[in-house]
Amino acid sequence: MSTRLKEMLVVAVMTVFFVIMYWGKVDGWMTGFQFSFGLSMTVVALIVVSLLVILYLTLQGKMIGRRVVFLYVGISVTLPFFMSLSQQIKISPEVQTLYDGIAELPPGSVVLSAFDYDPPSAPELQPMAESFFRYCFNNDLKVIVIGLWPQGPQQANMAIEKVMLDESIAAKNLQYGIDYVNLGFQTGNEFVIQRMGSDFKSMFPTDYSGTPYDELPLVKNVKNFSNIDYGFNFSAGYPGTVEWVQVAVDRYGLKMGAGNTAVQAPQCYPYIRSGQLIGILGGMNGAAEFELLTGTVGKGTKFMLSQSFAHMIVIAFIIIGNVAYFRGGRKRKL
């Protein structure tokens, strides 16, 4: 059979599978898989064994190609979705600091949350945003949303919509404009923060849906950062936490915490040390820890297993790569 034919066959089989699954979802007879504990362990064992085989092959001098590595990454992220294994999550100090900082806010405090990310970074930041809103609404904190990234405010709306489905929060019957406000996006990066230092309204004359600033009871009396009790920044790059710290914290003395993508987080550690930031959530791990502290189980916790598996696969391949290298090195010496 030619390669081309094989490829076509694989695509055809996959398409049939997708159609059946989708039909199942729409029709309602498929509500999701869950491997039993035994099956989960068997799958894990199979992966480990196959990795050992690869290690053995490498020792024999047969290097595997890129595509095999790709395949393993795909498998190690996908399969844990269906596994019923649990793992213990340990709270790191910077997450604890962050939680303590929020926990000491009295009910009624005004919280500014800046959404500086877009959909591609949502897997890491959305779970944080959800548990953040959940905490704020459950504890009667008033939330003002803004965004320095065009899609930020939309992500905030999605998170709020989702959190509103919670029974405890739905029961509070929160009002837009009184309990929370989404002021939308503004261009200008750090200059927006700078201008907000003197006047919020000049940067956000209307909210996300066009209601004038002065008609929103929550923000009507909010002039600048001095009326904000706490700031929280969800950041995936520039502009983001670095800019917020440099302008809002350093110049206007805002108390601030941040949730960052794991890539961004290391750059913000110096700010925790110097006290400019009160804690940070780094990546999905941070999200899972925050979920644990706020007592909700969201996607952060749920996907941590995939995350751990993926790390293990990367580590395994680094080891295999090094085995190949040292084996090759010995051969040269001989």
Partner: protein, 414 residues
């Protein structure tokens, strides 16, 4: 509740009474959510002393747009928690009516009023707010904000920047007279070889100046390096192509290549299609460049400029087609990926030094030497500063503390 063993039992008692009234009033507050000054009931009239010594003064180093206000908080605010609910700042412009401009939390004793104009005069009143009403201070004298022409707070920033720029300029001048030593930078040594290899293999060269626009210095650095190597490429008669993600970068890159080809004596080799605009979208651009890479299979790939997450996608794809890759960026987060997937990587400062280094022009090389003066200064200050502050804090040596204070006032950027 109160520890009243001291002599001032009278004071203690009065505090107790006020506190009792206050706790009553707080319950009133809880009932009426908003602070309404008209709510006055007979039983709990809460009187507070107004703030005193309200002074409006010039806000330093601005463009006549702000005034600073300070006051001594109401004595009741200082003695009893929760009696004063807020401070309200009122402003009268050019002797007109008072209007409220700000409400501050208790305990505050200053406020900066921005968005003023140098043409008007302003006077202020600060009032302490309790549940029963407002208790206003006397009005301040009318004052106009003034414009300062120089910001003396930034004098040290100015002087140190001046010192370093002078050092750079000094070496630029000296370099014209005598050749200065500059150490080898590995990635740069390899550039000629990389261009040569593409020529030998009869394949093309791909140049990527990062994904930022012309308002990022890293893009400028990338383009200046392009200016240095485009000449060699023209001489070798190698095919160059350069998809870019910004329209302005496209324009500037075309000018750069045209000029270099001209200088190399091969203006005939130049045509606009060397540089093409793809899309401003980060990953849209990457999707296209990745595709182009596997289809064109360039022998050499340059990745010089500002890179974000796409660094590894590009570098890994380049690696998979077996291209020689020379990368450089000043974004620390992306450096490890270039180091892992490319043959040579210019780390941070080296990216900016590269064009000077490649030009072999004495003036440009001199500027590198000037940079070293800055580094030496930074190292010296770190060394002295760390030693001094360690000694000062551990053994309380007065003289060392002076050194530390001086240094921190000089280098303070807050």
């Amino acid at each position: 509740m109160f520890n009243c063993r001291r002599k001032s039992n009278g004071l203690c008692l009065s505090i107790f009474i006020v506190a009792a009234i206050c706790s009553l009033s707080v319950s009133v507050k809880a009932q009426s959510e908003t602070i309404d000054s008209t709510v006055v009931t007979d039983t709990n009239l809460v009187v507070a002393a107004p703030p005193t010594s309200v002074i409006a003064s010039e806000y330093k180093y601005d463009d006549a747009e702000a005034l600073e206000l300070s006051w001594v908080p109401s004595i009741d605010d200082q003695l009893v928690d929760g009696l004063v609910l807020a401070y309200r700042v009122y402003r009268a412009t050019n002797g007109g009516e008072l209007e409220m401009i700000e409400e501050l939390t208790p305990g505050n004793n200053n406020f900066t009023d921005h968005d003023l104009s140098g043409d008007s005069s302003y006077s202020y009143v600060v009032a302490a707010v309790t549940v029963s009403g407002e208790y206003s201070s006397n009005a301040t004298a009318a004052i106009s904000p003034e414009r300062e022409w120089l910001n003396y707070e930034k004098k040290w920033l100015f002087l140190i920047a001046l010192f370093i720029t002078s050092a750079i300029m000094y070496f630029i001048r000296t370099a014209r007279k005598k050749k200065l030593f500059v150490r080898k930078i590995a990635g740069l040594e390899a550039i000629d070889d990389a261009v040569g290899r593409a020529t030998e293999m009869g394949r093309s060269i791909l140049f990527i100046p990062g994904i930022q626009d012309m308002d990022d210095v890293q893009t400028l650095a990338g383009l200046t390096i392009l200016g240095r190597i485009a000449g060699t490429i023209a001489e070798y008669d190698t095919k160059l192509f350069m998809p870019v993600s910004r329209s302005l970068v496209m324009t500037a890159a075309r000018e750069t290549i045209k000029a270099s080809f001209q200088t190399a004596g091969r203006p005939d080799k130049y045509h606009d299609d060397i540089v093409t605009y793809v899309t401003d979208e980060q990953f849209g651009y990457v999707a296209h460049v990745d595709g182009i890479m596997v289809r064109e299979k360039p022998a050499t790939v340059f990745l010089l400029g500002a890179f974000f997450a796409e660094s590894l996608i590009l570098a890994e794809t380049g690696n998979s087609i077996g291209a020689i890759q020379i990368a450089g960026t000043a974004r620390p987060a992306q450096l490890p990926f270039f180091i892992a997937a490319c043959d040579f990587t210019l780390i941070g400062e080296e990216l900016f030094a590269a064009s000077a280094y490649l030009s072999d022009e004495p003036r440009a090389l001199g500027s590198l030497k000037g940079q070293d003066v800055g580094k030496a200064l930074a190292m010296f200050v770190i060394l002295i500063g760390v030693l001094a502050t360690t000694i000062a804090s551990a053994w309380h040596v007065e003289a060392m503390q002076t050194v530390v204070d001086t240094l921190s006032s000089v280098f303070s950027t807050k």
